[in-house]
Symmetry: C2
């Protein structure tokens, strides 16, 4: 039963927002309760507002601020850390209808609304011979707003960097409902604090991004793709380290045996099911250099015991191989529910990380499939579980925490590109240490003193 | 006459810091009053502390916090916006003795202390076949700490980005004397707010950087260099826009007639003194592609009326041409004192900016020489003045402000890479607007509630 304040909030939203933007019926609310992390603790929102413009978002934030109600911003709902899990009694602000993309080829920039999908931004850029590099595997169904919220990475980051490297400006609705423009279409701008960069990766806890100015670059050259199959994980990891030392590949991905088999089950690509590990490497250098690089990669992989190395400069064939990698998470997902990890370490510790995860899997009696942006030292261990088996769930949860502790112990991070969200919030202070955590909290309180912006994400709900 | 508090501060500094680190005699203090901006309002510091380690800096900050005394951090003193101008009665913390550089080739990273020069970091990296790209023209005598404080740019940024793109981690001494480690040797890390990025470009107003983890990349290929001479500024600017639309050059620099002549006066390089403008362009692509790009640039320049185009793949000859560009500021400096500007605009407005600056120079009766990182839309108009001529100084100051107003009107910034410092602080609020300015101040107050960190830089001294 909604109490008096809830009723007042709902009637204010309906009165002050355009018709058709406010959802309050329980059935329709269900679709907005969880993101792809399937957070078991997700709440039931008071209302969902499907904003159509910056002003709509301002209206919602003003009402929420006045009434002291929480707000959960939501893009495409593809988040993997529960950053968009609904909170009981809070308002979900969905940006899914704000999807405009305007490319300015003379500036080599795009002005985008947060609900636009990553792949849509890429497509719009490519119409002008331009490229928006960041490429999460979810690029076909993740929003650019979510990418900005988590400072998303992807496969090409090993050469081209992450989301923050391409964000030049933001329009942000602050906790008091003001909309502020930060940065803009300028390649260099150091006037004032680097607030654009501060908002990137802040997971909706400091403000709600309603527009972004993105830097585009000339189209990527058609890459050459190499796949190498290894009888040992160790050989694959040594190859990764040596490849990184020798050149700057445009992709350097790792899949372990469990992942290879899950992908093969789903896609029937004739992958070697007996292999312990597979690397997928790309070079997008001009042909002469790419050919030399691919030969060098081949040599490195063979030196570390690769049993099969295959290279192709055919773009469709290359794309099919990458697709095997991109489908790794959905493929493993067919084996059960997933606890999706995102830990990263300095590259020389990558082997120790993978060994340690195998030990955790054995000790806890759970399956952990490992896929990794290996060139960045960023891994996605996928803990498979049967959600109806309470004892297994408990063991999987324990393994989830132990993987993060392991990464911290190796000088690594608890999240490389998915964000802290709600699922990793309990580990953040351990990772950052007391002083850095306190510094985070000081910024949070300075910008959101009431604590209404995405309560429970990154920071414990106060 | 030092008052009682001053005496107490000095004796605490001497008592708590290693011998030889505290300077208080008036003669020796002089050398620490100004940076390269030659701020006429620079004060006289109470003391200079030449810190040897993070702990020294912590000691100074704790004493300053306890006594409510300001601190001005200082690197190599090469700043161009007065960010290191001394403040009467404040302590200057000089990082000039903290110059350690440790390169880890397996990580492709360097851990550096702030006093190390940019060129020293580059040299240390190159011993391992690695490269630290950011390259301010002052690279031989600017410190990496100053580069981080201002988020410095340079010539190769048009392809390789600015300082923030290479900073992975920082050790920062906060306003209460705690030292906190942010980020670290991880290529991807989104755990918590992007505080590393917030401190880059904060000009010592939020904390004092005492160590940085920098990302290195494989050594740059030897670039091919092209110089084009134009009878009109317009032809040069049109060429810049077309080159940027067609490719991603690794350098794209502009010099106007006044600059060409000043450089020729100093260096005797046989530059065309009658030219209205000169472009210096580089491609560092593999040879086949570089050759094609240079041919395309040649075609573009000729199409826009270039009277002479000269290309060389000889590295020494290329370096000599770039040196002409790097020496532009010292060369113009021989004509008088300089008010050094750093305004930038979106690339399509670059012609309007340069036209507008010419009009300001005529109206105010001052000489403005223009050198520009043209590919980034970032210009350095150099206002030449005789500092002993009060009336001219007044006209030059007026022109200085008008150039910033012009840039703001064209959608540009008041500083692209030099920082706000003290010289541009009065223009910051105009540029940012009230809401963004208030947001800046909120962060400043949250991290430095007493206002002791670099008082008067970026923000008005309260």
């Amino acid at each position: 039963m909604p109490d008096a304040r809830d009723a007042q909030v709902i009637s204010a939203l309906i009165a002050e927002l355009p018709e058709g933007t406010v959802i309050t019926d329980l059935d329709s609310l269900q679709a907005y309760r969880r993101d792809r992390a399937e957070d078991p603790d997700a709440g039931v929102p008071l209302a969902v507002v499907r904003a159509t413009c910056t002003e709509d978002v301002q209206v919602v934030v003003r009402i929420a601020a006045r009434e002291g109600v929480g707000i959960v911003p939501r893009g495409a709902g593809s988040g993997l850390s529960g950053g968009s899990s609904a909170v009981d009694g809070a308002i979900v602000v969905s940006l899914e209808r704000m999807r405009e993309i305007v490319v300015d080829p003379s500036l080599q920039m795009a002005v985008v609304q947060p609900g636009a999908f990553n792949a849509e931004v890429k497509a719009a850029a490519s119409e002008h011979g331009l490229w928006y590099p960041p490429d999460p595997s979810s690029q076909e169904f993740c929003s650019i707003g979510g990418n900005i919220a988590t400072n998303a990475g992807g496969l090409c980051c090993v050469k081209y960097g992450v989301t923050t490297d391409y964000v030049l400006g933001l329009t942000v609705v602050l906790a008091d409902g003001r909309a502020v423009k930060l940065g803009g279409p300028r390649l260099k701008d150091v006037a004032g604090l680097s607030l654009t960069k501060l908002f990137v990766g802040s997971e909706g806890t400091l403000g709600i991004v309603t527009e972004a100015v993105l830097r585009l670059v000339p189209a990527q050259r058609t890459p050459t793709t190499l796949v190498a199959v290894f009888p040992t994980v160790d050989g694959a990891i040594r190859s990764v380290v040596d490849v990184k030392a020798a050149m700057r590949p445009s992709m350097l991905e790792f899949m372990d045996r469990a992942t290879i088999n899950a992908v093969e089950d789903m896609m029937r690509m004739d992958l070697d099911r007996t292999a312990a590990a597979m690397l997928i490497v790309q070079s997008d250098e001009p042909s002469e250099v790419a050919t030399a690089q691919i030969e060098e990669i081949e040599r490195i992989c063979e030196q570390h015991g690769a049993t099969e190395v295959y290279a192709t400069s055919d773009p469709d064939e290359g794309e099919a191989l990458i697709e095997a990698r991109r489908q790794a998470i959905p493929a493993v997902e067919r084996r059960g529910a997933l606890l999706l990890e995102d830990v990263g370490v300095p590259l020389p510790r990558l082997g120790d990380l993978i060994d340690g995860m195998r030990a955790i899997a054995e000790r806890r009696g759970v399956e952990i499939a490992v896929v990794a942006h290996a060139g960045d030292g960023n891994t996605h261990p996928l803990i498979v579980l049967d959600p109806t088996d309470a004892a297994q769930r408990e063991r999987a949860d324990a393994a989830f925490g132990e993987v993060m502790d392991l990464a911290i112990g190796l000088g690594g991070t608890i999240t490389g590109e998915h964000g802290v969200g709600r699922l990793k919030q309990p580990w953040l202070a351990d990772y950052l240490g007391g002083d850095a955590m306190e510094l985070n909290l000081r910024i949070k309180r300075a910008l959101d003193p009431q604590g209404i912006l995405n309560p429970g994400a990154i920071f414990a709900d106060s």
